[in-house]
């Protein structure tokens, strides 16, 4: 009981500043509000409070000592927080918690309460020591921050919904436009095919057939583009492979052997139509001129790619075509102009026998 009596000595120290127990003197003089309660007495009353505590709460020493700490609570104090304090006292453990407390004049402050038991040598709890701190500013700042965060989050949710709606609308529009392009391309092909059937003049029919082949080639380009997962890139390698089998297949020429050595080769989708038409011109030219009069032969397609460019080479083993005749056809003009558009280069050389056309073009940058 001696230690307990020591605590009571602080009452005496009030009149003797700076003397006696230096720890008690420190507690008395600090700017940190502090109280000590005695759980050994009925209702665990406050047995000591320092001046800082009196200043914080607005109560005098006489009004404080002998009362339970709950006199600081009020209607807005969180009951769950109070229950935690009660639980800590019952189990004799430490607790740190922010509680809304009331001053004598009824104003409130946020109290950062820290409370811990003081035990004797036997481990029995003698007192509870509690320090308080007015953290109203911190709580207000935190609460303002939370409000701000909530406003920002609400705004983010709202804008995300707006963006998603805009994206959905764009998707629907894109789908609709894509559908119309497909339908129109299909109908243009059908119209041309139906017209070709009515033409008796073979030279006119031949020209219309060429037109039809070009529309078909564009249709194949478009079909491959919309079926691809990446609409920005176009695999000219598999396109060429499909087109060569289409062109030779539709000619009904089972006597033309096709050699294909192709690999996937991606180019910018913006150049897909131009390159597709170039390859169509070369292939249809080869089938019509290199293997005319029912001459059988071999058509080869080679697709390869380097770091920054692609190469497509189409060779036949026909008689070869004099360059003067070549320059007169619309096909050659198409190839030259479209090559310029796609930044490609088309060169002809003698295949001995036959002709080889090599198209060199820039690749899209796949290293990104």
């Amino acid at each position: 009981m001696k230690q307990r009596d020591d605590w009571h000595l602080t009452d005496v120290l009030e009149y003797e500043h700076g003397r006696g127990d230096p720890f008690a003197a420190a507690v008395r003089a600090t700017r940190m509000p502090m109280v000590i309660t005695d759980p050994g007495q009925e209702d665990n009353p406050i047995v000591f409070c320092n001046v800082a505590f009196q200043e914080l709460t607005g109560y005098s020493r006489a009004e404080i000592v002998g009362r339970n700490c709950r006199f600081l609570q009020g209607p807005e104090t969180d009951p769950a927080g109070v229950a935690q304090v009660r639980e800590a006292i019952a189990t004799g453990s430490d607790i740190g918690i922010d509680l809304l407390n009331y001053r004598k004049d009824g104003t409130t402050f946020w109290n950062a309460l820290y409370m811990s038991p003081v035990r004797d040598k036997a481990g029995k709890i003698q007192f509870f020591f509690a320090s308080q701190m007015d953290v109203s500013d911190r709580v207000a700042a935190q609460s303002a921050l939370n409000d701000q965060k909530e406003i920002v989050e609400r705004e983010v949710v709202r804008r995300t919904a707006d963006l998603r709606a805009a994206l959905d609308a764009k998707d629907i529009l894109l789908h609709e436009v894509d559908h119309r392009v497909k339908n129109n391309l299909t109908m243009i092909g059908s119209l041309l095919r139906l017209q070709v059937r009515t033409i008796d003049d073979p030279s006119v029919a031949l020209k219309l057939d060429s037109m039809l082949e070009r529309v078909d080639a564009l249709a194949v380009v478009h079909r491959q583009l919309y079926q691809s997962s990446d609409i920005g890139r176009f695999d000219i390698g598999s396109f060429s492979e499909n087109l060569v089998s289409d062109v030779v297949g539709s000619s009904g020429r089972s006597d033309i052997t096709v050699d294909v050595e192709a690999q996937p080769l991606f180019v910018d989708a913006a150049n897909a139509s131009a390159l597709g038409l170039i390859i169509n011109e070369i292939l249809t030219n080869a089938v019509k001129h290199a293997f005319d009069d029912g001459r059988s032969g071999r058509l080869s397609l080679m697709v390869s790619g380097g770091e920054d460019h692609g190469i497509i080479r189409i060779c036949d083993d026909g008689p070869g075509m004099p360059s003067t005749k070549r320059s007169k056809s619309i096909g050659t003009a198409l190839i030259a102009r479209l090559a310029k558009q796609a930044r490609a280069e088309a060169t002809w050389h003698d295949n001995q026998p036959g002709t080889c056309v090599t198209i060199t073009f820039p690749r899209e940058d796949t290293r990104t």
Binding site: G189, L194, L212, D216, V220, Q227, N242, S245, D246, S250
Partner: protein
């Protein structure tokens, strides 16, 4: 033995129906009938017995090619069904019992080669020409070739 296939065309776009009919006939086959909707297919005589049906997915009067395909399977179970559509991605992985699909816009070569391939499978079984890239097939078609061959 005749090598002429009896073909049914289900397409609501008349221009395309005419075009497909012309290509089928030019390839030496016979177009039995054309229909633009599910109801028009149901109105066809029961004893029609088509061997090949080209079926668009989007049809007149809010009907669709999937229902037409199911109707054909129950009424003319021997018919090979090939969808012709711009919406290939809408077709389920099992093709709902159909045999293949040709994507629109189709080319003359693409459609004619598909017709030739199916005719070859039907009369030679298995087909002696390679499958054209224009025709995407379901496993059911290969199954059909092997069943016929055995």
């Amino acid at each position: 033995m005749t090598r002429v296939m009896e073909v049914l065309i289900v397409e609501d776009e008349m221009l395309l129906a005419m075009d497909i009919e012309a290509m089928v006939e030019d390839s030496g086959h016979h177009v039995l009938a054309e229909a633009a909707s599910l109801q028009e297919v149901k109105d066809l005589p029961e004893d029609l017995n088509p061997q090949l049906a080209f079926v668009d997915i989007h049809l007149a009067n809010n009907s669709n090619g999937f229902d037409v395909s199911l109707y054909i399977q129950t009424h003319w179970p021997n018919a090979i069904i090939v969808f012709v559509t711009a919406n290939v991605s809408k077709i389920p992985a099992d093709f709902l019992g159909a045999h293949g699909v040709i994507a629109k816009p189709f080319s003359h070569a693409g459609l004619v080669n598909a017709v030739n391939y199916i005719a070859s499978g039907m009369f030679d079984s298995p087909p002696n020409v390679p499958r054209p890239a224009s025709l995407i097939t379901s496993p059911r078609l290969d199954q059909r070739w092997t069943e016929r061959a055995s």
